[in-house]
């Protein structure tokens, strides 16, 4: 093995993953204590926002309007390496990158989610045609093209994986956007929703009300898709029902990003990472913190807003620990918007407190109905939080 690919000059925090949680954590460590060296490892050169990417499918937003680079983060004096972290050696306190490694004093792992391809028969082999579009980027644009190319009268099948998965209301917002597009552009088409869950996972009442405007939606609860045949254009549910499609959007079951699995940070379920609710330190390996969608055990949704909050809390904890101080007890909050057509949105807000070392929900509140004002607020939220993460 080669040596340290970037020999350190002092105390160093390495962050794996430059998404909503990781990029925030990297920035806030530098803001808290500029004497700490920060290296952020992120394979993608550009950040594409998952929030608002459903609106690319309906043509309401462009992917470019959701795409940012990491240039402004570098101005905080951190190193951003566009590499892939292939492993972690907790005892040696180093991260493997290519043929070398990066040593750390504290490691923050923000790996996002990985898909469990093996859970759906035929999916791994059909990845290029059967799209998830659940990590905003090229697949989002490809799925929009598939939708646009579909004949009027065609059937769009969207499958919802079993909870827990990234962005609980995301599939249902996507159903709204696809149904809105089809209602206008292909009025003889329909959307069939095959949901592995017993009911709509988030904002159920609000989505059901919003769907009144879309007679082209056919929702089937407790329909877990276990097989896809891309040649026959057909999916099969766990009851053996076969559903034909013209375009399918198969959102696969999910687990923590692969580096978390390889680094032995996941629990007995082999899916998610359990952490301390105040410091986000892994319960399995000291000195390694896990944030964002990869975590489990906190009463919070796997959302970008929560990941951003965890990034700030974790940064504060890591800096306190490196300076030999007690980490403060800080609780996250979550604001989550879903657009139900081209101009109206709904929202859910959750706030939390720390009670005897655990995150506990104080309150949840939903908007009463879809409104243009809420949609305008969501634009303000996006502008501010993107800047909070990358600015």
């Amino acid at each position: 093995m080669q040596g340290d690919i970037a020999p350190r000059s002092g105390r160093r925090v390495v962050v794996i993953g430059g998404g909503w949680g990781g990029a925030t954590a990297a920035k806030y460590v530098r803001l808290h204590d500029p004497s700490i060296e920060v290296v952020l490892i992120e394979p993608n050169r550009r950040f594409v926002s998952c929030p608002f990417s459903n609106l690319v499918l309906s043509g309401v937003r462009t992917i470019d309007s959701l795409t940012f680079d990491y240039g402004r983060l570098r101005r905080h004096g951190m190193r951003v390496l566009h590499e892939t972290a292939t492993g972690v050696e907790p005892s040696a306190r180093r991260v493997r990158v290519g043929g070398g490694y990066l040593a750390y004093d504290r490691l923050i792992v923000a790996p996002g989610v990985e898909f469990q391809w093996e859970q759906v028969e035929g999916l791994a082999a059909a990845q290029e045609r059967v799209l998830h579009a659940w990590k905003a980027g090229p697949q989002t644009v490809q799925l929009a093209r598939q939708l646009q190319s579909m004949d009027d009268g065609g059937v769009f099948v969207l499958t919802v994986p079993p909870a827990a998965y990234r962005c609980p209301p995301g599939p249902y917002e996507r159903v709204c956007q696809v149904a809105w597009y089809l209602r206008n552009a292909k009025p003889r088409s329909k959307v069939i929703v095959l949901d592995a869950n017993q009911n709509i996972v988030s904002k159920a009442g609000l989505f059901r009300a919003a769907w009144q405007a879309y007679p082209n939606i056919e929702y089937r609860a407790s329909n877990k898709v276990v097989k896809v045949d891309a040649g026959a254009r057909e999916v099969t549910t766990d009851f053996g029902d076969r559903v034909k499609y013209d375009v399918v959007n198969l959102i696969p079951p999910q687990r923590a990003g692969s580096v978390a699995v390889h680094a032995d940070l996941v629990g007995a379920d082999q899916r998610w990472c359990e952490v301390d609710h105040v410091t986000y330190e892994s319960v399995k390996h000291r000195g390694i913190h896990v944030i964002g969608d990869a975590t489990i055990g906190l009463p919070v949704p796997k959302s970008g807003n929560v990941a951003n909050a965890m990034g700030k809390i974790c940064a504060s904890a890591v800096v306190h620990l490196l300076n030999g101080k007690e980490p403060p007890a800080m609780a996250p909050g979550n604001t989550c918007y879903s657009w139900v057509n081209d101009r109206e949105a709904i929202a859910v807000v959750n706030v939390y407190k720390i009670d005897t070392g655990k995150v506990v929900q104080i309150e949840q509140k939903l908007t009463p109905a879809p409104s243009a004002a809420v949609a305008q607020n969501s634009l303000g939220w996006a502008q501010s939080i993107w800047s909070d993460i990358l600015g």
Binding site: N305, K312, A329, G333, W381, S387
Partner: protein
């Protein structure tokens, strides 16, 4: 010269260390930045800047949101969180942050000019240029996002901003008397002030 530069660098470094994250109250106010921007300096069209606002104003706003007196789905839970953590600490944190005016957005010059004339009606409470009165908890309107100012004035006008709040009767009466187009001009004018 080198020494002078070094001193300047050291001074800047020590100032950077005592930044917004070191201020008391940061740990109770940090969730707000997702919408209200770093240290309360919103860069969003419809989200208000909190940095440098009078503590008394912020405290009343949080208490009113928390109790539902000032209705907002998004703000009610967060205000309850602030009340749970200590509303004075959160209000004092934002009041103590340096206001950083947004980079000039394209404001309509004619609307700003019309708004300047119309702003005479606001001067009694908010001062001649909208700077407010911290001691009385009257907010500083200068440099607030145009969208936010416009939305709030419309809420006052339609009776949906803090219904039943007697302390704001004068404001509601005034907003009802001013046509919507003039309210938009006022929003442009106060947004243009620094």
């Amino acid at each position: 010269m080198i020494y002078v530069s070094l001193i300047v660098v050291l001074l800047l470094a020590s100032r950077a260390e005592a930044g917004p994250l070191d201020a008391p109250g940061y740990g109770k106010a940090f969730t707000c930045s997702a919408c209200h921007g770093f240290a309360g300096n919103s860069r969003a069209a419809t989200v208000p800047i909190l940095a440098g606002m009078p503590a008394a104003y912020l405290k009343k706003a949080l208490q009113d949101y928390a109790s539902g007196k000032r209705p907002s789905t998004e703000m009610e839970p967060y205000a309850k969180m602030a009340v749970h953590l200590g509303v004075d600490d959160v209000a004092t944190y934002f009041a103590g942050q340096k206001r950083e005016p947004a980079t000039a957005t394209a404001l309509d010059g004619a609307a700003v000019a019309r708004g300047k004339t119309a702003a005479a009606a606001c001067a009694g409470c908010h001062g001649p240029d909208g700077r407010g009165d911290a001691a009385k908890g009257v907010p500083d309107l200068r440099g607030q996002p145009q969208g936010y100012l416009g939305n709030q004035m419309l809420l006052f006008k339609s009776g949906r901003r803090s219904p039943g709040d007697k302390a704001l009767e004068e404001m509601k009466t005034l907003m009802k008397a001013i046509p919507e187009a003039t309210l938009a001009d006022l929003a442009a004018y106060f947004a243009s002030r620094q």
